[in-house]
Each structure stands twice: as C-alpha cells, then as structure tokens.
C-alpha cells in the first residue's frame, strides 16, 4: 500500500507547478510546498485498518479544522516514507499521518 502510494507521489513530483495548479488531489498525495483549498472531507475513502470507524475519522478531521473552504499548505514531511506530514491549516499548524489524510481532497493553487 505504501509503496504504491509513494510511487504515485514520485510520479507527481515530476510535474511542473503550473501543470499542478487547479488539480484536485488527496491531501495524502501532496508534497511540501503544495498549497490550496480543501474542497471535500470524505468519510470512508481510505483503505481501512484504522482504529476508529470511518465517520469517526471524518469527524476528528473536521474538528481539527479540516473543513471545506479552509486554506491549506503542506509544510514538512517525515524522513521515513515521507510520513507524517505537517500542514498549515488556516492559521494553525497540524501534524498528521498520510493514511489519515486520505479523505481530505484539496484543489491546488497556482504557485
């Protein structure tokens, strides 16, 4: 699962910033420097294995401010499997694992 994910991310990193602008993708697939707007926070779009039910994960994300319309920027990522990620969400900073970020869809801005 991780390797497929990271392969997809590697492929994406080859794209130019201009081509990325306006694209919609999962927060779990972003890389540092990406910024945009959250367009949807879904329940049940991830691959399972969470300690909590999917709608519970969705509610937790919402409670932390991952809501539609919020400004988001990916700031940092961890050393191992580029996980977890740190994001700026409106005026807060939040750290989360990529697997928990799968339900968050963002539309990238132009650089």
């Amino acid at each position: 699962m991780v390797s497929a994910e990271s392969r997809a991310m590697l492929a994406k990193s080859a794209e130019t910033a201009a081509a990325k602008a306006g694209r919609t993708l999962r927060l779990s697939e972003t890389k540092p420097g990406d910024h945009g707007v959250i367009v949807e926070v879904r329940a049940g779009s991830h691959s399972g294995g969470h300690g909590v039910a999917v709608d519970e994960l969705q509610r937790r994300l919402l409670e932390f401010g991952f809501v539609e319309g919020a400004q988001i920027e990916v700031l940092h990522e961890g050393a191992i499997w580029r996980d977890p990620i740190a994001v700026r969400l409106d005026d807060m900073r939040i750290g989360l694992r990529r697997r928990d970020a799968e339900g968050v869809w963002i539309r990238l801005d132009a650089k």
Binding site: A43, G49, H50, G51, V52, D55, L57, Q58, R59, R60, L61, L62, E63, F64, G65, V67, E68, G69, L75, H76, E77, G78, A79, I80, W81, R82, D83, P84, A86, D90, D91, M92, R93, I94, G95, L96, R97, R99, D100
Partner: protein, 624 residues
C-alpha cells in the same frame, strides 16, 4: 472554609490544549492546589481555592484540555462529564471559565459553541493576550462578547495579568444569579461540526482582524527542527544531552541522599535496642523509602527537560519526528514521552501514558515501558560489569564495560519495540489509531511556570509512588525477616526466612540459567526495587555494608560465580519485572489485575529465556 459567609462556588476551567490553561490555573489558585485522582478513573484531578476580595471562596477545578465535548480519551471523558455535571462524586460547576489562546481562536470558538449548548454561565478568558498585542492582532472584544453571549476577560496567565478581572467577572455571574439553562448539547455529527465551523468562521471574520505582524518565528524554527534529517539529528542530540544531564547532574544529589538514608538507618541502629522494631524501621521503612527517593533527583532532572521542551512547544514536534519510527513497532508517536520518562523510572513513565487517547495504544505503551533501562538497574549493571567484564579497550578506543552497558540499554529498547510489534500483531491486528496533532506556536518557557510544574511533578511522584511503594517494601521486608534465624545459626539470617525458603524452593528452576541459591534468595528482596538486589547479594554473602564497599562484593562474586552466571544475571535484569512498585502502578493505571499479571508473566518468561540462552551459550564458549 466555614468562617466564610457566602457559600463556596464551583468553577471549572475548560479549553483547548496549549491555551495556557495550566498557567492560568496556577495564576488563579497559587499554591492552594490539591492533586488527586477522580473516583474510579486515573485522570488527575487538580483543584484549587481562591478567596475573593468580597470574601467569597471559589473552588476551581482544572479540567483536561480538549477540542470538543465529544470525548475520546479517558481525560476528555472527564472534561465532558464534569462540564455536563454528570461526573459521579463531583458536584456540577456553577460557572465555566473557557480558556482560549487569543492568537488561535478558530477551534476554541467551536468548543465555545458546544459549551454554550450546555447552558452553564460562562466567562471567556482570552489568554496569551500579550502575544496577541505583540502581533498586532485586533480583536473587537465587545462584538465578540455579544456574539458568543458571555463576558470576556483578557489575561496573560504567565504574568498574572487580568486575573483579578477574571475572578471579578466570575463573581458577577454568581452574584447576578444567572442560572444554568437547559442542557441542549448533543454529540454533533459531521454536518453539525461543519455548521459550527462555519459559524465560528463568521464570528472570527466579524470580530478579529488578521495580525499585522504574524508569528514568523515558528515557521523558521520548524524548517530546521522538522527537517526530515536535521530534525532527527537534533532530536537525538537533545536526548543525548538530556541523559548526560540526568546521570551527571543528579548523581551527586542522589549519592548524598542515599548516604543520608544510610546514616539515618545506622544512627537508629546505634540508638535503638536491636529487635524487630529497629529492623523494621531501618531495613523496611528507611531503606525502602530511601531506595525510591534517591531516584527523585534523576526524575526531576528528566522532568525539568521534558517540561521545558513541552512549554517551548517542542514535544509535539518530537512526537511528529518519532511517529514513523515508533509506528513501525506499532507504537503511537505520543508514546515517545512516556517511554522517555521510563529511562529514569517506569513509574512516572506509566503515569504519563494518559496523554494517549486510545486504550490499545496506551496499554501497549504501559506494557513495554518497564523494558526501558530505568536508573534502578544501573547499580546492578555496574556491580556485575565491574566484577566480570575486563576493563579493556575494544578497537583501541571504546571501553569494553561501556560497550556492555550500551548493549544493555540497546537490548531494552529493541525488546520494547519487538514486544509492542508482537502485541500489535497478535492482539490488536491492524487497527491503528489516527495521528492528528496540533503543532503549537513556539514560546519561550516561563521560569516560574516551569518551576511550579516541576514541583507538582515531584509532589505527585512522592505521594503516588509512596502509597504504592511503601506497602510493597514492608511486605518484602517481612518476607526477608520472618521467621528469624534459630539460635546458633551460622548462615545469614535471610536464609532462614520466608524469602530464603522461597529462594531454595525456586533454585531447581533457576539452576539451568546458572543461578545458585544465594542469587535466588537475593532475587526476593530484589523484588522491592531492582537496586535492592545489590544490597541483598551483600546480605546473603554476609558482606556487611556492601553499599560502602562495592569493590568487596564484586570480588566475592568473582570467586563464587562463573562469568556465564554473571552474564546470565545481567540478561535476567534486562527483562525481569523486578519491581513491585511498577506492578502496583500498572494495576492502578489499568484498573485491573489482568495487565499486571500479563506483564509479570511475559517479562519473567523473557528474562528466563534470555538468561538461559546467555548462560548456555557462554558455557559452550568456555566461560562456565
């Protein structure tokens, strides 16, 4: 408080984590605080008293920080139930003080909306107002107050600014007779959380203008501290410095204390008639309490660093950096701090697992915490290493004893990771709790705040550990002292006691791992605390005052033990649950005997197997 004419009013503090709630609680109540546990749960209950200018007394309850009343951890359940007035054994609060970080209002506004639904009178304390002003943040206090329908007081908890105002506002609410309205709070679903955010966003937009000089410091620092590689390097350097400090700074004080307890015991022996009472006082009580208190300096130094880093805002980053490393073994990033504390002593480590929301994550952390090399193992390791490991250099620079010590630490860490990995695989397959954590803005720690937190930690450790450790110590003393030696006995008295008999009984079982009966007997009092085994070995080998002459004991052991036995003893001590107090704390924290029983069994099994392998391999290598 019977001489106060007005009845005591109950106030509860609620707020997001990192809002400065603890600092505000300290500013409000000063030193009139009491720390205990809530009935039936192991959540810390902090309460303090305020005597107001008008002669009323307020009792302030500090509730665990939360983002929502939809409780997820045991801590948050307490907050929810206390706010709702449903906590058993706890009267509902008359007034709520909601503490907010003025520079970070979005999430707390949503919490405020939830709190409003509960219907209790409330005051909003806009804390960190100094930072808000420095940033040039414009907040329309009147407008905001109108929107959320409750009075607002700006505070700077660390400078004690706005505290009198806050108390006055609380009194106002009580005096004006505002009563609780009906509770219409219900657990929100996803749609309602979205609505609440929209409402919070609207309120924010209408009343708060973006800062003129936003905080750029945090971003800059993060680009170094959260750098994938530099960040980890810095974290490990910090840890290294911390452990250096723990063992060098605190050593002098710890030694002084253990000398002090030794002297106290000796003077009692000199002045009291020999007998059971003296034996109980010196060997049971004083050496028992002493053997725990000598770790206090180390624990305090460790906690000093932890509190400092926590107040600075670094601990969330450490959890972030370590998450994947620990996650590989099935541990939560938040388990980092408890496991770190366990290097000083597993007891505060296990107590601090309360920050972990999820029960499974918390239990896994509790179960592996005693595998971290706590400082009580050091005297045992030092004794055996000095007796059996030649002080030579490896590859010209590294000292062999140092390498062995390092190996023992590493075995502890690796086995902890292994055990949690297996626990995850066997017991709780797959299910991994989400990891979502706010990374707060960096702040310079306030010295007074740090000092106070440290004092509180010490107090909690002493009282909590004391109530568990003392009975255990007395039990172990009893086992090792009764029945006494018969007249004309030649062997040490412990040999005739219950502990001695148990030791002899167990000897055949421990024979295959190279333990003789003296060692087996010494293990029983050693169950009180690991380092007590050193003194116990001194007792069974009849070496008076082994603490003062560790060299003599090491020489004796060299004569009586083979190298294989010495190594097996080391291996045993990496794993063996030789600490009754830890078991007691696990019982307390998990509220059941199941987990301490599992811990006892798995650690003993590991210890036995490790010692067996080490002993047999060493014999094959000709060290028997």
């Amino acid at each position: 408080m019977t001489d106060v004419p007005l009845p005591t009013a109950r106030v509860a503090l609620v707020g997001n984590p990192n809002s400065g709630k603890t600092a505000l609680f300290n500013a409000l109540t000063g030193s009139r605080q009491k720390v205990a546990n809530y009935a039936g749960v192991t959540v810390e209950r902090k309460e303090g008293q305020i005597a107001t200018a008008s002669g009323r007394s307020l009792s302030v309850l500090d509730l665990p920080g939360t983002y929502s009343l939809r409780a997820r951890s045991p801590d948050e359940v307490v907050t929810r139930d206390a706010v709702l007035g449903k906590l058993s054994g706890e009267a509902p609060p008359d007034v709520l003080i909601c503490v907010a970080d003025a520079t970070n209002l979005r999430l707390v506004l949503r919490l405020i909306l939830e709190l409003k639904a509960v219907g209790r009178p409330m005051v909003l304390a806009l804390n960190m107002f100094d930072i808000a002003q420095r940033q040039g943040l414009r907040i329309d206090l009147e407008g905001l107050s109108r929107e959320i329908g409750c009075p607002i007081v700006t505070t700077v908890a660390t400078r004690k600014r706005g505290i009198e105002d806050l108390v006055a506002q609380v009194e106002n609410l009580i005096a004006s007779g505002v009563l609780s309205t009906d509770n219409i709070w219900r657990e929100p679903d996803a749609g309602q959380i979205r609505d609440a955010h929209r409402e919070a966003q609207r309120i924010l937009k209408g009343n708060v203008r973006a800062p003129e000089r936003p905080d750029t410091f945090t971003g800059k620092v993060d680009s170094v501290l959260l750098h994938p590689f530099a960040g980890l390097a810095i974290l490990f350097t910090l840890l290294f410095v911390m452990f250096q400090a723990v063992f060098t700074w605190s050593k002098a004080v710890g030694d002084l204390m253990s000398d002090g307890f030794g002297a106290l015991g000796a003077s009692l022996v000199a002045h009291l008639p020999a007998g059971i009472l003296t034996s109980f006082l010196t060997e049971g009580l004083i050496s028992g309490v002493g053997s725990v208190l000598v770790f206090l300096p180390q624990i305090l130094v460790l906690f000093f660093f932890i509190i400092l880093l926590e107040d600075f805002g670094y601990m969330a980053r450490a959890a972030f950096l370590m998450d994947r490393i620990m996650g590989g073994a099935g541990l939560h990033g938040r388990a980092f701090i408890p496991l770190l504390s366990s290097f000083a002593c597993a007891i505060p480590g296990i107590m601090s697992t309360r920050v972990i929301d999820n029960r499974r994550d918390r239990l896994t952390t509790i179960m592996v915490a005693p595998l971290m090399t706590c400082s009580a193992r050091i005297p045992v390791y030092t004794l055996i290493i000095s007796a059996f490991i030649p002080n030579t250099k490896v590859a010209g620079v590294l000292s062999l004893p140092g390498l062995v010590m390092f190996g023992l630490y590493a075995s502890g860490i690796l086995s902890a990771l292994g055990v949690s990995f297996i626990t995850r695989r066997l017991l709780w397959r797959g299910a991994v709790e989400p990891f979502l954590m706010e990374l707060p803005a960096y702040k310079l720690p306030d010295p007074l705040n740090v000092a106070r937190s440290l004092y509180l930690r010490a107090q909690i450790f002493i009282t909590r550990a004391g109530t568990i450790i003392l009975p255990m110590m007395i039990l172990v003393w009893f086992l090792s002292s009764f029945p006494g030696a018969p007249a004309g006995a030649t062997d040490p008295a412990i040999n005739y006691s219950l502990a001695g008999r148990i030791g002899h009984l167990l000897q055949p079982v421990l024979g295959p791992i190279g333990f003789n009966w003296q060692m087996t007997v010494a293990l029983i009092p050693g169950f009180a605390a690991r380092e007590v085994a050193v003194a116990a070995l001194g007792t069974v080998y009849a070496i008076g005052n082994s603490d003062a002459h560790p060299g003599a004991l090491a020489t004796t052991l060299q004569h009586h033990w083979s190298i294989a036995t010495g190594l097996a003893f080391l291996a045993w001590y990496v794993f063996a649950p030789q600490c009754a107090s830890t078991i007691g704390v696990v019982k307390r924290e998990t509220n059941s005997w199941l987990w301490p029983a599992i811990m006892l069994i798995y650690m003993t099994t590991l210890a036995y197997l490790a010692a067996l392998v080490v002993y047999q391999v060493a014999r094959v290598c000709g060290l028997g």
